[in-house]
Amino acid sequence: MNLIGKFLIGAIFFFSVGCSDDQNNDAVETEEHHETEEHSEAIKISDEVMKEFGIEVKEAGPGVIKSHIDLTGEIIAEPSRISHIIPRFNGIVKEVYKTVGDKVSKGETLAIIESNESLAPYEVQSLIDGTIIEMHMTQGELIGNEAHAFTIADLNKVWANFNIYQKDLGKIKVGQRASVSVGSMDIEETGTISYVSPIVDEKTRTATARVILNNQTGKWLPGMFITANVYVSEKKYPVVVEKTALQTLEEQVVVFVKDEDGGFRPQAVKTGNENNDNIEILSGLNAGDQYVSKNSFILKAEILKESFGGDHGH
């Protein structure tokens, strides 16, 4: 019976080893991962591999960051350059000389009306040099003195009025440069913000910014829908890096810095102003430091490597 017992133990042993070995294999594998765990260690990458993977290094230094805000708005005729012509007396329109779109000069006769009171015809004259943009008068019509018969606008200068949403209110100021354009058309002009409304419209909850545009050529038509890039800041900062250099590592913003022996280390930084391409570094990086400007993600991944091993897909 002793023999049987021995055999039994032997048999069980065979099976238990049989089943247990894969852990040994695994142990070896995970041990390998373990070695790469050290975060503080600099990552060494040969120049060849850097080239292969497109990892580029640049020098951090002073730079200018321009940032802008996009606004939408419309072209309107300048209110001070609009005149409404209203017939003085009620009467029948006898003659109409001008029509919408005609350019008129100050004092030019626009129409002749026969007064109801005096039954005498009188001339309706333009008050300013400008273009007729509105007309409510046809021959033979009885016209009253309450409606304006003509609206004449001087379109040599127009206003570009932009809506400022609340979130941008603090940033838009008089004097900022703005590049005004019409979406799909190839019309663009740069101007200066001349006015920011002191109140916010109760209905739209937007404030208004204005750029006065020259319009001798007549390309800006009132009613046009326009957009503007307002350059809200343009400043030189002591340390500026390309935005592609930033990575988030363990909930910190880092830049990968090349140290003296050619290794790369993540360096936590504090960032300041930014635009689409560049960003100001407030602390953590000095001018003259070599930093990874392109494909720094690979370095971040290298550090995180041990954490994403071992799991299967999904």
């Binding site: 023999l3 247990s20 894969d22 695994d26 995970t30 993977f53 988030t248 991944a301 897909g313």
Partner: protein, 1034 residues
């Protein structure tokens, strides 16, 4: 039992016909058996996939995964439900108990799915079951080779999706063809947000308008004269211009067309997978999925034929090129075993010829091989076992054993025939000879079958791998028994008739020369041992001691991996990686591979294509390494060696982990989804943040326990999110609903499908979203305008907080609860005590919030379960064997004497492993099991005869010597046939040989020592174990 013999001999013709019928039935079964490479180890699993475009893991879990899981609860035979909620995809794996019929399981799941669908909000995806297939189902991969270079990726994908796919799906046995790579064609409407403002339109109005202008309707029919005219109104958009000319609104009679608000163009849909090739660029590829239970080789053959046809009708310059086929694997696996089978048969026949000295008895014996094999096929089709490496391997292993029973019988017939006088009736001689041995033969075979019982209780992957082997061996042995007791006597009567010359010969001359020589050599030896029993005991003890000494020196390993002959390099990249970046890295890696001399090409799948087979995220790439023919290699290498070379020359990819795997292995691993570490502590609970923190705490506690190694917490987070949190106060001020905001975000940034365009039967989505500049950056998203009910437009950043956060990579759940895994290995101490200590420490030092639960699992648990099972099964088996022996001998002593064979047989197996430098592994354990049976068999033959001689009145010593001398031929023959039958497996180098080799080594080694024991030690010890004969035991 004697009656069976009598019956057989009386009805010789009937038995013969019966034998032929069984063999014919076996052949028919063989023709119908499915052929696979390996036994399918996939679990009984139904997968439910839900594609939920654009949804983050949290939402996928909440809206999709959870309802599906809940409805699946309580299904019959259900084992576990595990789910993974990923970005844009929910996968629910419903595991059923092993052996559950897959169609039954699918039906159950399908019934519940209708319920689940109702609970998933509209537009959040439609759950679908995966293909009716298993881990072995991916039988063929191909890519499209465009030699002209003028087709765009969209065009090629359209060819794949609408031409190739549907053609291939008509091939019988193909359940699914899944495309990946390139872009699915789409009509994209890129809306300019400024134009929306200009014309006072919202993006959702555009979506509605497109839907409302893209219809065909039917309106019954009208009668005109005697005819009916079907009325139909045609209003489907057919081309880009049709979409552009849709009127969005009319202001004072002036229509505003869509073209004024948006650009319409053909583009590629959002994708979660890319296929690349040779480091050059993207390709389009497809995967053919085989239907569950079909014959791999037939299906692949049919697919290949279809591919050849398709190649003819594809546009000029485009070709379908298969880059992975399971066929070659199936073929080589089956070839390996078939070769070994044939070689084994030939060797066995040679042995028979040598020992029997004539062809005729050898034919009788050799016929037992085809009979037993064909009998096994009948059983295999009954038990639904496919022809594969393991089941065929079982047959190869059993070749030598199949003949044993018949050898003993025929040898006895032969011997009695030689001893008989001329007058005796030959048929009568056969009957006597058969009756003499039938009982021990039957018991011996039954015992061999019985020793395989523990194998049937193996579970999981090992169980599925090795049970086909155990089944086929058991079936073949049963077949050989039937042959031996029914057919062999009949055949002997036909084939072994005494020739005239034989009759003339004297008794002396009748003995075969080789047998005489053998006995001459053996007689003094056996006499020596019988006289000096002590020497026998010393010999046995020395051998045993040797075994005990070398046993601990054996290494151990898991089941050797089945080499599939295809190398897959798997690259895991950072979880937050973008598809563009992972494609870039993959192409670099491919270029590196192409520089290696042996590599002919590389085709890589990144992420997933059409849902059904793979669920990988985009940070995972699988490179199929295509190798040049072997003669172009630097040297002759095995797959493992080649992997080593590739690994070395490939080097490191910064930011990516690389490991080698194989196609089937990879798929199966994914389906099993088990934790491979020794110890897996699962922390269940509700809140991801809490789970993560508590898991970290547990991990740090575990690290302090002695013996802990590689303690790791699953990285569940790491996917960056742009989180837009709507501020309820702010929207209240404008009278906007949360949904209004979200609707705009979804459409503007993610895009909204607004109907389809039909091109013949092909259909392509119309996707409406903002122009790229207006949605691709966080600040651009902040500028998106939301329209309040009073017409005011408010930028999103004024209504919501937009921040970049790190979110979960995926949410894994088991049995309706979120969990996180802490893995560890235990080194240098007993895992049981480790677990105990760890549990106590965690109990005392980690205070879990209510509702959080820790479970301890991992491989160790499986192992414990297996050990517990074996602790029951092995003693029962031994008891059963002992009982069988006891029924045979009706003597405890005799039975014990035979059991004594086992330890010495084990020693031989251990020594063989040690000498050949192999390790203890599951296959070698299987070898040990087979060894038990064979070792017992020889002992039985011998002891039976001793008893018989004792009964005839011989003295113990005399009986021992004479018995041994008379039985040396069958004992040697059975041992040699078994051993030689395995020799081909020992030297086979083909696919799958790595699993068979340890097994063959153990059996051959064990046979060596057990034969020595049987022939030398057993006769010596017999005296002490003999029965005092007066009452007959036989």
């Amino acid at each position: 039992m004697n009656r069976i013999i009598d019956f057989a001999i009386k009805n010789r013709l009937l038995i013969l016909v019966l034998g032929i019928i069984i063999m014919a039935a076996g052949y028919l079964s063989y023709k119908q058996l499915p052929i696979d490479a390996f036994p399918d180890v996939s679990p009984s699993l139904v997968q439910v996939f839900t594609v939920t475009e654009g949804l983050a893991p949290e939402e996928v879990e909440k809206y999709v995964t959870y309802p599906i899981e809940v409805t699946m609860n309580g299904l019959p035979n259900l084992e576990t439900i595990r789910s993974v909620s990923n970005f844009g995809l929910s996968v629910v794996n419903i595991y059923f108990e092993d052996g559950t019929d897959i169609y039954f399981a699918r039906q159950l799941v399908n019934e519940r799915l209708t319920e689940a669908r109702e609970q998933i909000p509209e537009g959040f995806g439609d759950p679908q079951m995966g293909p009716i297939s298993t881990g072995m189902g991916l039988v063929l991969f191909y890519y499209l080779d465009d030699t002209t270079g003028k087709y765009s990726l969209e065009e090629l994908r359209t060819i794949q999706d609408w031409l190739i796919k549907y053609q291939l799906q008509t091939v019988p046995g193909v359940t699914e063809v899944l495309g990946i790579g390139g872009y699915e064609k789409q009509f994209q409407v890129a809306v300019d947000p400024n134009a929306l403002l200009r014309y006072d339109v919202t993006i959702n109005e555009i979506v509605e308008k497109i839907k409302a202008n893209n219809l065909n309707v039917g309106a019954q029919f009208i009668e005109k004269d005697a005819e009916e005219f079907v009325v139909r109104s045609v209003g489907l958009t057919q081309k880009i211009e049709d979409i552009e000319n849709i009127i969005i609104k009319a202001e004072d009679g002036i229509p505003i067309y869509l073209s004024q608000l948006a650009e319409v163009e053909i583009g590629g849909a959002i994708r979660r997978g890319v296929q690349t090739r040779n480091g050059i660029g993207e390709v389009i590829s497809g995967m053919v999925v085989k239907l569950y239970g079909t014959n791999s080789s037939t299906v692949i053959g049919a697919v290949e034929k279809k591919l050849a046809e398709l190649n003819k009708i594809l546009p000029e310059g485009i070709r379908i090129v298969p880059y992975y086929e399971q066929k070659s694997l199936v073929e080589s696996a089956v070839t390996t075993v078939t070769d070994a089978l044939w070689q084994g048969i030939i060797l066995v026949v040679i042995i028979l010829m040598v020992f029997m000295g004539s062809l005729r008895p050898s034919i009788v014996v050799a016929l037992s091989i085809p009979f037993a094999i064909l009998f096994a096929f009948i059983g295999m089709s009954y038990f639904n076992i496919s022809i594969n490496l393991m089941s065929f391997g079982g047959l190869a292993i059993a070749i030598g054993m199949m003949v044993d029973a018949t050898i003993v019988l025929v040898e006895n017939v032969d011997r009695l025939k030689r001893e008989s006088s001329k007058e005796e009736n030959f048929i009568h001689i056969i009957a006597v000879a058969s009756k003499e041995v039938i009982r021990p033969i039957t018991f011996a075979i039954v015992i061999i079958i019985a020793v395989f019982i523990p194998l049937f209780t193996l579970q999981g992957v090992e169980g599925k791998t090795f049970s086909p082997l155990a089944y086929t061996i058991a079936l073949a042995m049963l077949g050989s028994l039937i042959f031996a007791i029914l057919i062999a006597p009949v055949l002997s009567s036909y084939l072994m008739k005494r020739t005239k010359r034989e009759l003339k010969k004297s008794k002396e001359q009748k003995e075969l020369w080789i047998v005489v020589q053998l006995q001459k050599f053996y007689e003094p030896l056996v006499r020596f041992f019988v006289r000096r029993r002590i020497t026998a005991i010393v010999l046995a003890s020395v051998i045993l001691l040797f075994g005990i000494i070398i046993f601990p020196q054996l290494g151990s390993e898991f089941t050797p991996t089945l080499q599939e002959g295809t190398i897959v390099m798997r690259m895991s990249m950072a979880p937050s990686i973008s598809l563009t970046e992972s494609t870039r890295l993959t192409l670099i890696a491919e270029r590196r591979l192409m520089k290696i001399q042996e590599v002919a090409g590389a085709v890589t799948r990144i992420g997933r294509g059409e849902v059904g087979a793979h669920t990988d995220p985009i940070n995972s790439a699988e490179m199929y390494i295509l190798l040049k023919p072997k003669d172009q290699w630097r040297q002759d290498m095995s797959q493992t060696e080649l992997e080593e070379i590739i690994r070395e020359e490939f080097g490191e990819i910064p930011g990516a982990l690389v490991n080698f795997t194989q196609p089937i292995q990879m798929t199966v691993d994914e389906l099993l989804e088990g934790v491979r570490a020794e110890l897996a502590i699962k922390l269940f609970g509700g809140d991801l943040e809490v789970l993560k923190n508590e898991a970290e705490k547990i991990a740090s506690v575990i690290r302090t326990v002695k013996g802990a190694e590689d303690v790791q917490v699953d990285q569940v987070t790491g996917a960056p999110q742009l989180k837009i949190m709507v501020d309820r106060h702010n929207i209240a001020r404008y009278g906007i609903n949360v949904e209004d905001v979200q609707q705009v975000i979804r459409t503007a940034v993610g895009g909204e499908t607004s109907g389809q365009i039909f091109e013949e039967i092909r259909r392509f989505d119309i996707l409406v979203r903002f122009t790229p500049e207006a949605r691709l950056t966080a600040s651009a998203i902040g500028e998106i305008l939301i329209k309040a009910p009073d017409g005011t437009n408010v930028p999103l950043s004024q209504l919501a907080e937009i921040e970049e956060v790190i979110g979960p990579r995926q949410i894994t759940r088991e049995n309706n609860q979120r969990f996180i895994t802490i893995q560890a290995n235990v080194v240098g101490r007993d895992i049981g005590s480790f677990v105990e200590e760890g549990q106590q420490l965690i109990e005392s030092s980690v205070k879990l919030p209510p509702g959080y639960l820790v479970t301890w699992g991992g491989q160790f648990r499986l192992q414990q379960e297996a050990n517990a099972r074996f602790a029951v099964v092995i003693p029962i088996t031994l008891l059963l064997i002992f009982l069988l022996l006891f029924f045979n001998f009706r003597s405890v002593k005799n039975s014990l004497l035979i059991l004594l064979n086992i330890p010495l047989a084990l020693v031989g197996g251990v020594a063989a492993l040690w000498i050949s430098g192999q390790n203890l592994s599951v296959p070698s354990s299987v070898g040990f099991i087979a060894l038990f049976g064979i070792a017992l068999e020889n002992g039985m033959i011998l002891v039976t005869y001793f008893n018989q001689l004792m009964k005839e009145g011989l003295k113990v010593d005399e009986a021992s010597v004479k018995g041994a001398l008379l039985r040396v031929r069958p004992v040697l023959m059975t041992a040699l046939t078994t051993a030689l039958g395995l020799i081909p497996l020992l030297f086979a180098a083909g696919t799958g040989s790595e699993v068979q080799r340890p097994l063959a080594t153990v059996v051959i080694g064990g046979l060596f020592t057990s034969t020595i024991l049987t022939l030398l030690v057993l006769p010596a010890l017999y005296k002490w174990f003999s029965i005092k004969y007066e009452s007959g035991a036989m």
